[in-house]
Symmetry: C2
Subunit: 216 residues, 2 copies
Amino acid sequence: MAQKEISSAVIERLPRYYRYLDELLEEGVERISSAELSRRMQVTASQIRQDLNHFGGFGQQGYGYNVQSLYKEIGKILGLDRAQNMVIIGGGRLGQALANYVRFEKRGFRVIGIFDRNPDLVGNRVRQCEIQYVGQLEQFLRTHEVEIAALTIPRDEAEEVARLLVNNGIHALWNFAHVDLDLLLPENIVIENVHLSESLMKLSCKLNKDRWLSEE
Amino acid sequence: MAQKEISSAVIERLPRYYRYLDELLEEGVERISSAELSRRMQVTASQIRQDLNHFGGFGQQGYGYNVQSLYKEIGKILGLDRAQNMVIIGGGRLGQALANYVRFEKRGFRVIGIFDRNPDLVGNRVRQCEIQYVGQLEQFLRTHEVEIAALTIPRDEAEEVARLLVNNGIHALWNFAHVDLDLLLPENIVIENVHLSESLMKLSCKLNKDRWLSEE
DNA sequence: TAGATTGTTAATCGATTAACAATC
DNA sequence: TAGATTGTTAATCGATTAACAATC
């Protein structure tokens, strides 16, 4: 329990390292130095070494890092070394897009249920999954082991559903609704937000920067 | 041209301010102090004042901020005070989800074209938009004023399409493909990435933290 | 062994918070 | 005017980068 807390800045970067290592693997590269990886990824070699060392000495002096084993280690840190079941609440196009995304499975994420409150959507199939009525969610959670719930529903419905999920043992929410669920739920719940409209606004902000910069 | 560069940390926070101000407007709140907003948003009042002052003195001593006018000002900074045309490349479920998202229109974003290379999708309608064959994209860009392109296509196709877009005058890319387009394109192109699988990995990382924390 | 490259400590840089004078 | 709250400067904190000794 040495609990040396890892900053979220570091965690943010891990998936990107993982992606580049994956590419290196595909290219058949066996070993890589922080300097070479630095060149590819456009981050400093220092940062790479610093980041990785939070989790252990994965490298070897004079050699660098073994691509295969580093890939595996980061995978472990990301929790990709085991299967994790996921449900999707909201069977609209976004929910379907997630359910349909093949790559997730490769990473150990299994969509085992999709739920919606709209009767018109219930019964539709997305890959191997049939959209179920949201009223059956609680019963489903009691009889299945679910780690993660994705919320692809409107913001007004998100809080209520989130509470139901949490009350039934879900610890991780992938939140696409425009609410700050972290302010509404117990602290121990892990939340990752994807706020698409805010992302688009950021893009627009950067694009329009010149307009207000010249004003001042 | 005083070009006092604004840090991306600040820009990251603007859409959230905007969202909270929107809520306050709906609640009919007329004015708000940084202290009160601080309580609601769970950030320091100091940060709020600091952030806003990058763009000008929107507040008034002894009074606070006028919700309506601050909302409008931030909207301007985010580029929401005018219409911006957008095309979506990739007519799959994710592309359709974006095209279908009503809220964007409220913010001035207009989806005026969706393109796909899959003939089965071509001709399908999403709201007022018909999916067109991607071969017609270049011609379309010549005859329409487009500010933003969303890329909801597989990573292998992203680079080529991005180049075509850039060569035809697009300056802003909303990138859902798992490539770092910024490393492949000219520096002046504005890019906002939404890497869904990396977002999911982050969630998983936080959820599985305990496993590797106890090991050390 | 000599060369290369890590792990780790120290220095720098930037962002966040605190404090307070200015002012509505 | 007195009270409240901003705008802004100064202090603190944390994250990034540089440097180098340890070591494969």
